[in-house]
Amino acid sequence: MTAPVPAPDATTDTIAAIATALGEAGVSVIRISGPQAFDIADRVFACKGEPPSQRSAGTFVFGHVVEGQTTIDQALCLIMRAPHSYTGENVVELQGHGGHQCAKRILRCCLEAGARLAQPGEFTQRSFLNGRMDLVQAEAVLDLIHARSARAAAAAMDQLDGQLSVQLHQLYDRLIATAADIEATLDFPEDELPETVMPALIERLQESRAQCEALLDTWDEGHLLRDGAVVVISGKPNVGKSTLLNGLLGRDRAIVSDTPGTTRDTIEEDLVIDGIPIRLIDTAGLRITDCEIEQIGIARTRNQMARADLHIHLIDASDPSDTEEVDRLLTNQSTKLLVIANKVDLIEASEKPPAEFSISATQDTDIKRVKRYISKKLSAQIDLHSRPHATISERHRDLLHKADSEIREVLSMLSTSSEDLVPLASSRMRDVLDYLGQVTGRTYHDELLNNIFSRFCIGK
């Protein structure tokens, strides 16, 4: 059995970590959680009147973080008592002046006073273990931290509020009831059961499938919000890909030169256009070359193109021969392809390159046009006018897919007249429940927990 994430003494000792981001800031927060949180606070924090441990929950007090006789920082000390805290344990937060060095010294004091440095995700894990949130909500915390746009954050918040959990629990409960009915047809003589049992449960299974699929449908949007849309720029060497990238980013990220093959490796950068987080990938130019490094780069480019949500292929408007790749792409590429002719400033206005539109990547107005286009193209996959709502993650999608295809099997088994398939259908129903249970954490799996919590950063 794989070791679960919790540290060997998790849930019994007191953990501490810096909860705010590294770097310079106005305030930094050190979070302490566990049975000794107040004792530790008493030791490291000096204030007028009663020490932190004697103060009531939901209050805060101004004072100093001290190490022996030395004052390290001024700080606010916030008191939260179990179970009414993020982790469900006693929690103290020390808000000191910003500055990483300062925060690190406060943390060190806490550790010396008996706390243990928290592992990544351990605060949230404790929250889960103490029943403060289910697995889906815990994952929302992660999404919230990583949210790269307001819409992504709103969707994560929706999930943290339990919106997705409610739907999943409903689905689970409906399927439990259905499974129970299938079992009943096996364990009771037919004449003791209402005749409508079978048709009713088939109907419920169909409803469950519909619900499953509706949840699965939220994935596209969820995936775009969580992972960002992948936009790949390709084209021949020296066609101006890096210029376009720099233009879209609004800064000089890639080296631009007249020498073909300047960009050998892919360059990845994040940006947000109209609330959609985007991962922009500038690829090595596609050409036949003997250079091994460049060949690797080109292979990678082909890879990137395959997984792109939007693929921008740049051609040189001034070079009429630059159509080979377009033809190739057009034959096997879908709606995700956008061909843009660059260097339109170098040709006569009457000439029309074989592209959806023409730009000069050095022109701000043209960059804006490209941005508008990207936004339009991607928002086809997200209804930006709808209220942000919780969406399923990759992990959920995987499990829901499995559950969905098992339900399909069960349905086809129950729809035949051979009753000897019913015991087999009931066996499959147990798998369905197992998959769904794994989504919300209603089924216990060591690996699953491991999987989910190891993705957290320290302090959460």
Partner: protein, 642 residues
């Protein structure tokens, strides 16, 4: 041994289905066994329906036969009607059900005990445990004599604090006309056992000649009779040899020499009153009417069950007729099976009319059923309330966690049904013997047998209503079939040692032949398809295969067919077992102090402290203990183990 201060190694209190199985198992394992009963004539009596098997219960009967229990043989050899239920739903949920001759069944049990060395019957009522400094030394009877025994198995059934209800009339008793055990009930209370009350019921008995059979549907038995035990299968096969001169579809006769007429010659004895399935009787089917329902509705307040006279919880799955009417008001009629209790018995058991109404209401109610208009009552139906001990106070071996060397089996653990009782009795008897021998107890996992599911459910979850077996209680239904019980339990049977070497090697041999034939079918081709593939086709049977092995027995062929046709699903279940038993393999150290684990929710902590699960898998099955609790426990265990 002669200087041994104890009279017995194993003393069994109660001689119902749990009691005689416990006593026989212990005696067959060489233990000096005492069987304490109020009345030796009542040993093995069938208090309710003289029927054995049925859905999921038949699985237990077959498992008992595979391990060396008596129930299967006893039912088969006294059977007067044999049926198979759920035939259309595949082998996993198929179940045999037979009716025994009510008088022959206990007579046979008594004859088996009489012929078994090491068993001594004591007629008395147990009153107290004999404890010295808290250590169990035996039993003190109600009349004050002491019986010394190294271990004690309690199997008191409905007799522990038994109270009979017929309408508003209440009688003390363990069965109609028999006394209950009341002092013993107080003893358990004083010793601090957690106890509760349960209720079960039985229908009235009617005079056979007073029924108008023309108004009912005939329910004949099945030919050839589907029997439970390997012994009965062997006898049937022998009989076929004698009758027809060739062996066609059943068991090979045992390798032992001896005269071929052996079994036939011995028919007519209490052990084998007739050939199983010989002269099967018919049952009859009728139904309740609107009028029946009106009568019951009008008298609900006078029913012991609904009038508030009974505090115990009733059997949800084997409901009284009052229950059925109240809970399924929409249903215009409920089945009533008219079951003769024996060939020469005048009593009829109207299955489906269990109730606790006043006698005069029962008469009116029964007479509203087609065919029963002039029914004559021999005994009224009644409900019986009795004490049970919370089974979470037991280990999986059925030994008490409270008092060492004390074992519990049957209704005292909250179950209902002869089969459930007999299964526990057998396990308790075996484990009492194992304990005295210093051997590890016989434990059956949930994926090894329904007996394992039964005991794990009881000791892990407890029960607050009479517990009966269902196939849905098992996680791995396709592996736990009644047909493969001898094979899946072979190693357990070997460890117990009740089955003879010859019996064990016969099963070994069959298993070998089955495996070899499956291998051959998978590697022999016919027009590009393996014989196994051909056999897997819907509707295809082994006998339809080209190039088949004519020497295989019906049992072997059945296993081959099921193993191949359900191979994919059986493999799936094996994968699931491997996955789930990971948690079962994590033992919870005995020294674990749940109070130290503050992160556990209060409710979980209390439950874990009470049940003291032996491993994480068992902990995860406790209701109210949720996955996060298991995660916390898992962390602690890893820490304790360093």
């Amino acid at each position: 041994m002669s200087s041994h201060p104890f009279q017995y190694d194993v003393l069994v209190v109660g001689a119902g289905h749990a009691g005689y199985e416990a006593a026989l198992a212990a005696a067959r394992m060489g233990m000096r066994t005492g069987l304490l009963t109020m009345d030796r004539q009542a040993i093995g009596r069938m208090s309710c329906n003289p029927s054995i098997g049925g859905m999921a219960k038949s699985h237990i009967v077959c498992e008992l036969d595979a391990l060396g229990g008596e129930l299967a043989r006893n039912a088969d050899f006294t059977g007067i009607q044999f049926r198979t239920l759920n035939t259309r739903k595949g082998p996993a949920v198929q179940a045999h059900r037979l009716q025994s001759e009510k008088a022959a069944f206990p007579t046979r049990v008594q004859a088996v005990i009489a012929g078994q060395s090491n068993i001594h019957i004591i007629e008395a009522t147990a009153g107290n445990l004999h404890l010295e400094h808290g250590k169990l030394k035996g039993i003190i009877t109600e009349d004050g004599s002491t019986i010394l025994s190294r271990t004690v198995v309690i199997a008191t059934g409905t007799f522990l604090g038994g109270k009979i209800h017929i309408g508003d009339r209440t009688i003390e008793g363990g069965r109609l006309g028999e006394m209950g055990a009341y002092q013993l009930s107080q003893t358990f209370q004083q010793l601090g056992f957690r106890m509760g009350r349960l209720k079960t019921g039985t229908p009235p008995r009617l005079h056979r000649e007073s029924i108008d059979y023309h108004k009912t549907d005939r329910q004949p038995g099945v030919e050839p009779p589907p029997v439970f035990s390997r012994a009965a299968k062997r006898d049937l096969a022998l009989f076929h040899v004698e009758q027809s001169g060739f062996r066609d579809r059943d068991e090979r006769p045992p390798a032992s020499p001896g005269p071929a007429m052996f079994h036939v010659e011995h028919l007519g004895t209490p052990l084998k009153p007739w050939l199983p399935g010989d002269r099967q009787i018919e049952c009859y089917l009728t139904h309740t009417t609107e009028k029946t329902h009106e009568i019951i509705e009008a008298n609900l307040a006078r029913s012991a069950m609904y009038g508030g006279m009974i505090e115990g919880t009733g059997v949800r799955y084997c409901p009284s007729i009052e229950d059925k009417i109240v809970k399924f008001r929409d249903k215009p009629g409920h089945h009533v099976f008219i079951e003769p209790e024996g060939r020469d018995c005048i009593e009829i058991y109207p299955n489906g009319t269990s109730n606790s109404l006043p006698e005069e209401v029962q008469v009116e109610m029964i007479r509203s059923i087609p065919g029963l208009e002039r029914a004559v009552f021999l005994k009224p139906g009644y409900a019986i309330e009795y004490d049970y001990l919370d089974p979470t106070q037991l280990y999986h071996s059925l030994e008490s966690k409270v008092i060492e060397y004390l074992f519990m089996a049957g209704q005292i653990n909250g179950t209902t049904g002869y089969e459930e009782a007999a299964g526990q009795g057998f396990i308790a008897g075996v484990n009492a013997a194992m304990k005295l021998r210093g051997q590890t107890p016989l434990l059956i996992d949930r994926h090894e047998g329904y007996l394992g599911v039964l005991i794990d459910d009881l000791v892990t979850k407890g029960t607050d209503e009479p517990y009966r077996m269902f196939t849905s209680r098992a996680e791995h239904r396709l592996i736990l079939r009644q047909d493969n019980a001898p094979f899946r339990l072979l190693e357990k049977a070997r460890a117990i040692g009740i089955l003879t070497e010859a019996e064990l090697s016969e099963i070994d041999h069959m298993q070998l032949r089955i495996g070899r034939e499956i291998q051959r079918l998978k590697t022999t081709y016919e027009n590009g398809n393996s014989l196994a593939q051909i056999l897997r086709r819907p509707g295809m049977a082994y006998r339809g295969l080209p190039n088949r092995d004519g020497s295989l027995t019906a049992t072997e062929i059945e296993q081959i067919e099921i193993d191949l046709k359900y191979e994919g699903y059986i493999e799936r279940e094996h994968t699931q077992i491997n996955k789930s038993s990971q948690l079962d393999r994590v033992r919870i150290p005995a020294q674990l102090d749940y109070d130290e684990i503050t992160a556990l929710r209060y409710e979980s902590r209390e439950k874990l402290k009470r049940i003291l699960p032996e491993n994480l898998g068992q902990a995860s099955r406790i209701s109210g203990v949720n996955p996060s609790d298991i995660a916390i426990l898992s962390v602690w265990i890893k820490r304790l183990k360093g």
